[in-house]
Symmetry: C2
């Protein structure tokens, strides 16, 4: 595909080029354009119909957008900026140097510029920062026919026309009507007669993850963002929130893996950036794990007497870590999805302790036979088996309690990663192990 | 809120009840209804406007839907089923006993019944299984005005009216037009003049996760599902795909935690169900970890001579496991999001080996000082430090290669969980450790 585009560009056959481009999705065009020389990119964006150019550009990263706009004529750049949806413009302006951003904003009409600066002031990852002002608004005294005419006039610019938002004279959101209902209604009906007054809205400060969960709960395509006094700021559309859902899941996964989340896709991270995201937790976990050395030195005599005990150290602490990791990942996700709340803590503990008991019984049995197989005798086998049971139950308890408690204290429960819980139960597991050994084997 | 609903129900004031209900979102009504007696539920569903009843019911689980339909009059049940979107009806029919499903299908009009049976035959988690037939179709020779009249006629039934799908006489999908474009166009224009012929479609067999990623790539609200000969089966809407995105992320997280994914929300799983999902991997990992016992017995003499070496076993293998877990979780997610492909394997290895080298240097340095602090002497400290470096590099290599190779062989890379990679590098880490010890300390 790219070859065809390039040869059409070289042939300078504008008609053939336009016809070719008309057959391709804007997203795919964006992917192809990114592989062209900057000169060709600038030329294409200037030549294509402005609405298509803007749509293609919205699929590009801010740095690529800036390179093109910076090389385009002032006129072309200004119309592209005007045509792009306001949330994309905000992303672009926030990604570039403030000085360059100011220069770019100079090319926007004053009232649009003002809206954009408002949007730029919202905290990153808040509902306000995701909002676009390219929605369609109407007044409650308008008729259906008037509103449809209005949609015809401004619809091209809107990011989504599925909903029309009814505002009062102060800009307060008082109703919502879907385009579907508008089309199904009689032309002379007043909007206030058919609009829905019970509207799902979100405040501008709300965290994007919460916005996404509200939108998916109510099966909406867009959600209005409002100020405290109910004035309309803009809308957040479902496509942006899908990106949020992906991002948040990626973050959770990386945190549960014991790493700080990467802010960029994998290959955009340098070795140095990967290093920085990982070293913090590695060091914390190392320090936390270091006390296992003290535990073992404490039991040095026991170990000296029965070296065979050391054979089972990795196996036993590994089993505790595995069982804890299973629980922690399940619970952190369940907390994130709102399936589990702090008030359920005793239900969770009961469930996990019982499950842990049965899992421990299994693991203990297998551990006993494993010990016999290694030829360390009945007594050590018993120690290993009983330790396995207790370690699994213990790690179940810790893994059940920690995420819920942290979540209650507004700490992201995903900091209790697999590596974290493994480290935590390693040392305590050893204490269980050697206490059992001393009791059963009657040694030092 | 629930109290208010209950007292209105008891007061038998139908007008007040209707007014109250009109103010509440269908999703919230569903949540409230679920807490009423079945008798009240049946009564409410029979009394409310049918379109609202159907919408509320779609937010309920299939078992709750069935209980209500089963208790409703044959007429009421049949109109509810007819009004519900076809993907919900399919979910319901697949969730109940085939005998009951057959009985329910008997109440559907013959042509709808046929469509439903087709949908029921698609594999679970395929595009076809998510599809709804409640979309709006039109013919290419229709004018804009004719089409709008058609939308007015059938729009109430449609799940989404944002797109109108243009079919030829054989039911093949030949074009698509958004409601927005329809409204913006001149009434007498023919659809074929303004419809887009380049359509993003998915085959019925495509996995739901792939459908979700295509939809989010192209920022669509719905995507048509077609047969191999391009006939239209139905559409998958964005709200269903958001659920898919959530489910798939949950599955990945649980798999990465070393557990089989739970099919239901946390509290819907019995202790026995949690046990079954977890015991498999715990046993596999136990068996895999068991060989660490052999490794340690192999080095029994070395351990006997220098018991202090055992102090660092949990620390060193823990560090290897942590570093491996960080990489595995990052790469599994990056593979899932399409950021990394098998062809990048050498780029990934290079990146991870270098990052691992620098991380290893840090950890080695810290490990050396930790050893001194524990008073085991310079030599053992050196062994521990060098081992730390090599273990981190080694686990980086294993964690970089495994997910990509598995993915290439069509095995879900998420089976390489944190616990899996930890187990894998535990034993090999011990071999590195004791080899270093023998070399540097000239022992056993």
């Amino acid at each position: 595909m790219l070859q065809e585009l390039k040869s059409l560009l070289n042939a300078n056959d504008r008609d053939a080029l336009e016809e070719y481009i008309a057959r391709i999705q804007p997203y795919d065009l964006a992917e192809m354009f990114m592989q062209l020389d900057l000169k060709d990119q600038v030329r294409l964006f200037a030549d294509l119909p402005i609405s298509l150019s803007a749509e293609i550009m919205e699929y590009m990263e801010p740095d690529a957008q800036y390179r093109i706009l910076n090389r385009s004529s002032a006129d072309a750049a200004s119309s592209l900026l005007n045509e792009m949806s306001s949330d994309s413009v905000v992303d672009l302006l926030l990604a570039i140097h403030p000085h360059q951003a100011e220069k770019m904003m100079g090319s926007l009409p004053p009232d649009y510029r003002e809206k954009i600066s408002t949007l730029m002031n919202f905290a990153p990852d808040s509902a306000g920062s995701l909002a676009t002002v390219d929605y369609i608004s109407a007044r409650n005294a308008w008729t259906v026919d008037q509103t449809l005419q209005h949609v015809r006039k401004v619809g091209r610019e809107a990011e989504i026309v599925s909903y029309i938002y009814v505002l009062d004279t102060y800009g307060k959101l008082i109703g919502i009507i879907s385009l579907k209902d508008l089309i199904l209604a009689q032309p002379e009906t007043l909007l206030e007669a058919i609009m829905k007054e019970d509207i799902v809205t979100v405040p501008a400060e709300m965290d994007q993850q919460e916005v996404a969960s509200i939108l998916s709960k109510y099966d909406l395509y867009a959600i209005p963002v409002i100020t405290q006094d109910h004035r309309m700021i803009g809308i957040v559309t479902v496509d942006d929130l899908i990106d949020v859902i992906h991002e948040e899941a990626t973050e959770d996964i990386q945190k549960l893996g014991g790493s700080q989340p990467l802010e960029e896709p994998y290959f955009k991270n340098s070795i140095w950036s990967l290093f920085r995201k990982r070293i913090g937790w590695l060091l914390i976990l190392f320090v936390a794990e270091a006390y296992t050395g003290n535990v073992l030195r404490h039991y040095e005599e026991t170990l000296n007497e029965v070296v065979a005990l050391s054979f089972f150290i990795p196996l036993l602490i590994g089993t505790g870590g595995n069982s804890g990791t299973q629980i922690v990942t399940t619970l952190v996700r369940a907390l994130g999805m709102g399936e589990v709340k702090f008030k359920d803590i005793f239900k969770v503990i009961r469930k996990e302790i019982f499950t842990g008991f049965f899992l421990g019984l299994c693991m203990g049995t297998v551990a006993f036979f494993r010990a016999q197989f290694l030829g360390v005798g009945f007594d050590i086998g018993t120690v290993v088996a009983i330790t396995a049971i207790f370690i699994v139950i213990w790690s179940s308890l810790v893994a059940a309690v920690l995420p819920l408690v942290l979540n209650q204290f507004k700490v992201d429960p995903a900091v209790v990663s697999g590596p974290f819980i493994t480290t935590l139960v390693d040392g305590t597991g050893l204490v269980i192990y050697f206490s059992m050994a001393r009791m059963i084997l009657h040694v030092g």
